[in-house]
């Protein structure tokens, strides 16, 4: 049984320098034994090829996302179709091939800052998997619910045991076309399908959610600070 800290590398937005930075931050802030593991997108499968195809088929924006969703256009990333960060979903299926069944897996986005001891995560009750929240605390987000904006899950940090998220992969695969057409981002779909308002009793509240002082957005007081929703320039500034 081991504590695994993993990140996923795909595309060319982040390079070796970012990986090294994350490793340094983890190394300085983890008082328990851990193994740092990279999962590459090249860990391919027929399903992965299909997701890649669907992403190209259903994405309705230009290659430059920021240009397409510019403030004058009145639309957000979610309206462009495809499913941003869908690469994460394959971790939920192939975890058993990469890890031991008793391992605890802590996934951290490369654009995260580690501020305090990560040992906290490996001491949690693992009856249910854990995911970060978006940090929204008032009701404003609810007004945007119908447009699939503002999910209250943030997949930048996920904690799970091998096999625990397999149901999610199966559900994603079963509904893949609709998800790539409609949801825009994996976080939005996770929130709708596995959050507190899921119609289905089996999937409702599938995750425990980290408090904002454990995983926060741009919060140096939290153990992990994430920067989801920030531009690349803003992230670089915050992660200096």
């Amino acid at each position: 049984m081991a504590n695994k800290i993993i990140y996923l590398q795909w595309g060319d937005r982040y390079g070796q320098e970012d990986i090294d930075k994350l490793y340094d931050r983890v190394n300085k802030n983890c008082s328990v034994d851990f193994e740092f593991t990279t999962i590459h997108e090249c860990y391919a499968s027929r399903e992965n090829d299909e997701f890649t195809y669907l992403q190209k088929e259903y994405y309705r924006g230009s290659m430059d996302v920021n240009e397409t969703i510019g403030s004058d256009n009145g639309i957000l990333r979610e309206d462009l179709g495809g499913c941003a960060h869908c690469q994460k979903i394959n971790m939920f299926f192939y975890d058993n091939e990469l890890f031991d069944e008793r391992d605890t897996l802590l996934y951290i986005d490369l654009d995260s800052k580690i501020n305090k001891d990560l040992a906290y995560f490996f001491d949690l009750d693992m009856q249910k998997p854990w995911i970060a929240g978006s940090g929204e605390s008032d009701n404003e987000w609810r007004l945007l619910f119908g447009t699939r904006q503002n999910p209250l899950y943030n997949s930048s940090v996920i904690l799970w045991k091998v096999h625990q998220l397999r149901k999610i992969w199966h559900d994603f695969y079963y509904h893949r076309k609709s998800i790539f057409f409609q949801y825009g981002m994996i976080d939005n779909w996770l929130w709708h399908r596995f959050g507190p308002y899921s119609y289905d009793g089996v999937y409702k509240n599938y995750f425990n959610v980290f408090d904002s002082d454990v995983v926060g957005i741009n919060n140096d007081e939290s153990i992990i600070s994430t920067y989801s929703g920030f531009t690349m320039e803003e992230k670089k500034e915050c992660l200096k």
């Binding site: 309206d79 076309k177 709708h192």
Partner: protein, 218 residues
Amino acid sequence: MLEIKQYKTALDVLNGICKKDDPHHYREKQVRAYLRDGIGHADDTIVAKEGSGHHYNKLWCYEILQSAGTFKKAAIALPGYSFYDGAYWKQLGINEMWCYEIDPDIRWVNMRLLKYILDDIEIKGKTCDPIIDHRFLTRDVDLAIYFECERMANLNTVIYDGFYTNKPVLVFQGGWEKKRGYINLCKTLEDFKKTLPKLDIMHEETRNEKHMVIGCLE
């Protein structure tokens, strides 16, 4: 009589929702704006003003449906606020209405907005996505309405021959207005029809940047 009940319901909702401890207080502005679209005096009911966007498009659909007969059990995907709709549901003879909303709160606000009609119509609902959760929709309906198809993937992927048990009348509305959350825009009526299941079409029309197709599955 219905008009009086409607006024009383609207006042009750507004008097309740303006209070800070009301669970839907944060929707006050939205509900007020919605109710403001109302104008009275149409066969003793309050209806939405012509040109009031989504609400008016819904009433356009009900008016066409009145010539298609009466219905007992109906379902609506993504109805949004439905204060003005209730009176039409009654005119259509509906006594059981299923509402499917992706927004968890709209269902509960709707139960308050439709209080005036609850003696006549049993209103039920689920918070779900009509596309991804289509397996869980009620299938033995006489009428199924899909408003705002712009917010969904193509419906021909989930509605197929035999999906509904009663061969219901199906209504689809969609258009080409660019707006947050509208992800499936169709400029022409022909393009819109390609996104739908194969239908024996009873009515098709385009108004106010909206297409509407009414028919039964082939």
